[in-house]
């Protein structure tokens, strides 16, 4: 994700469950008086849930004026990559992943997917509710 898209990073918060909400929405958290929806990235990417979520991190990002929290396993590093390292998303990627990724960054040793937060909150355009299946994510 582009660093400038990230407002802040907070530890696991107490989440209020929202019945009837789409499956990827974990619930609401209280971020200093602001109510922020939390999206479970594992569910969005159709990955199996973690057994121990105590280390999970909320990445707070601002999308179209509203705050959204992305619940991730952990955060890696902040890196700077030159423009020529980026490539468009390969068309063979699974549809559930492809629409939320803008570009792929080639790093020495591995590849990095660049998320597009604007597309993440548009999850309802893709087939919903997301069934929590245990199938392997191709890009993982």
């Amino acid at each position: 994700m582009a660093v400038l898209d990230v407002q802040e990073v907070v530890r696991q918060q107490e989440i209020t469950h929202v019945p009837l909400a789409p499956g990827v929405v974990r619930g609401l958290i209280n971020l200093r008086g602001n109510i922020v929806s939390t999206i479970d990235m594992r569910r969005l990417l159709k990955m199996p849930p973690l057994d121990d979520e105590s280390q999970s991190i909320n990445v707070i990002t601002r999308v179209a004026g509203a705050l959204v929290s992305l619940l991730v396993d952990h955060i890696g590093d902040v890196i700077e990559a030159p423009d020529d390292r980026f490539e468009p998303v390969p068309s063979t990627l699974g549809s559930e992943v492809k629409h939320i990724i803008t570009r792929v960054c080639k790093l020495p040793g591995n590849l990095l997917m660049i998320l597009n937060p604007e597309r993440i909150v548009e999850f309802d355009r893709v087939n919903l509710p997301v069934p929590i299946e245990l199938h392997k994510d191709r890009a993982a």
Binding site: E14, T16, H17, V18, P19, L20, A21, P22, V25, G27, L28, I29, N30, G33, N34, I35, V36, S37, I39, A64, A66, L67, V68, V121, F123, D124
Partner: protein, 744 residues
Amino acid sequence: MAIKEELQKQLIDELVVESLEGLDAFDHEILVLETGEQTADTWNNAFRIIHTIKGSSGCVGFGKVESVAHVGESLLAVLRDGSLTPDSNTFSSLLRYSDALREMMRSIGQDGVEGSADHSQLVSDIQALHSGLTGAKHGNPAFGFFDEEPKAPEALSDTPMDAPTAAPLAATTADKEDTNASHPAGSQAPKGSISDSAIRVDVSQIDRLMNLVGELVLARNQIVQSTGQDADPAHVAAVQRVNLITSELQQSVMKTRMQPIGNVWSKFPRIIRDLCHELGKDVALVMEGNETELDRTIIEAIKDPMTHIIRNSIDHGIEHPEQRVADGKPAQGRLSLRAFHEGGQVNIEISDDGHGIDVGRVLQKAIQRGVVTQEQAARMSQREMLALVFLPGVSTADEVTNVSGRGVGMDVVRTNIEKIGGNVDLHSEQGKGTTIRIKIPLTLAIIPALVVTCGDDRYAIPAASLVELVRIEGDQVDKSVEHIHDAPVYRLRGNLLPLVHLAKELELTALRHEEEAMFLVVLQAEGRQFGLVVDGINDTEEIVVKPLGKEMKGLSVYAGATIMGDGKVALILDVLGLARRAMLLDEGSRQSAKDRDGIKAPDADNETRSLLVARVGANRIAIPVSCIARLEEIPAGKIEHAGKLEVIQYRGRIMTVVRLASVLGIPDGASPAESADSERLLALVVCALETSNLGVIVDAIEDIVEERIQIEIREGQRGILGSAVVQQRVTDLLDIKELARMAA
């Protein structure tokens, strides 16, 4: 460069705002002129408004506005001088002319350009009016057009309007307020002094302030909750101060968002005039309570429903003048708007003296549309039949006009008003007229709500839709909850109340334990009552409504979310959405039964009154439920003294309490020993007055009844309105306002 553009933008924004305001005032002046009730200054004012618009828009380089404005200005100049006598055609042209200017101003406000609309027809119309009637004076209209230019300021110089009109030409638009303010002209003086002490504040700024206060209220709730009894006294005192200041701040900020309802109403004379012209009717508008204040957001929200109701009244409420004369009524119809505060809510009444609603036709339409069956119709009361007009597809108009009558109207009106937590009631007498009463809350940003538990989470229910709470003991549950098909119902004072299980609607898996008591929250939506079954009822709390993210916009069962005292997030239930969802799920056989139930809801009947019956000594005292905020029990020791008054600390404020027994000179039932006991619990009825609460101590609260009562007015006893027979027993009716005056 950028700064210059910024400045230009700012100038244009101000120009648009001021011009639109000016045009509204202009419409008003023209309407006054048309009725012939003008003062010497009316033409002057109209002229000055247009002159300012012309000058300012010329300044910023909007040539089109300037040239259109100029034409009207010329016409106004001769009208003002009295050398031209206006007829109704003149007034219509002037109003169209103001519309044209308004349209251009809006377009400037939105896109920064004057828009492509062609106003040449209008311009030539106005020139024709000008030249046609003053032809002898000016000859060639085109020539007169230019001839007028130097004349306008000249004519002005000998009127007291000189300063404000000439100044904008020389100075920038921003100066308009100031020049107005400093203006010494007699009739303008009060207006001037207001703008002297007032500043223009961006609405978003106030909204932000409101949000911050909202957060402060939440933080305050958290602090108050975490400060226990045994904390350091200094700390407790500080917390109490914070508590008080926050409440006061909240009220003051809320006040800044308040606007008089007249702001919306000022648009109506124009709408009514246009409609009357279109339909060939003659209607006088009477407005009362213009100054009644409401939250900005609510004012916005009621604009459309009110416009709709007014159009309805004029289109098929009030008859044509000939018809009215034939019916023995004055030729001119009367439409009155009335607004007033009552019990923490704002009431708006719109009534006309037209021919009323033909109940038979409503019923016929409803049967035609399959909304009700013949048998149901036969059993309906007058009032129930009237309530049918709020259902979709029922219209009483014989023919569809372009004004109204398509049968999509009153249901939308009701939905819109219920969306903001209000309700609509309709009363009509055939041949005499129709009255529509709207009740709406004062504000939406911070609302009182009931907090309930369901599953592991808490939910907030806006108190506006709350009717009452019922607790059914565990062993009673099976007996008192019956089933029609699969639908659970509960007999509430003899009426069947459909039950909705919150856990089921929210698809929560956690099930209630059978042996525990069952909690029912009786709610009202769209004129229907239903009982919401929850796991527990916590407390009422003032909550700050926060919108949900767009990821959850599709969920109609939630009105938003809020942060509770402990910092956790709770969802706010949307009673309307919840009801819809519940009805939707069990559509079919029960639908019609429910409809009937709904129409029979007691509140649909206006003649009956809800009364709280209390006992004082041997007397029965009734208090209208509409003015009661809460019922409390307080230990006698909590009563403190402030001067001669007895007061208690209530929800962070000081509330005066009166002992009804001593005020009314009735010996109360308590023995001296009991009276001395500071632990003794007193029944306290908290009554909502306009600005504060008043606590009324009674011996016991007996019941809440809904009855058709007839009050026998009784003079002599202060604080008592009169007596009536309630539940077959003579009961005195309390006059809260008088009581408050006696206590003060």
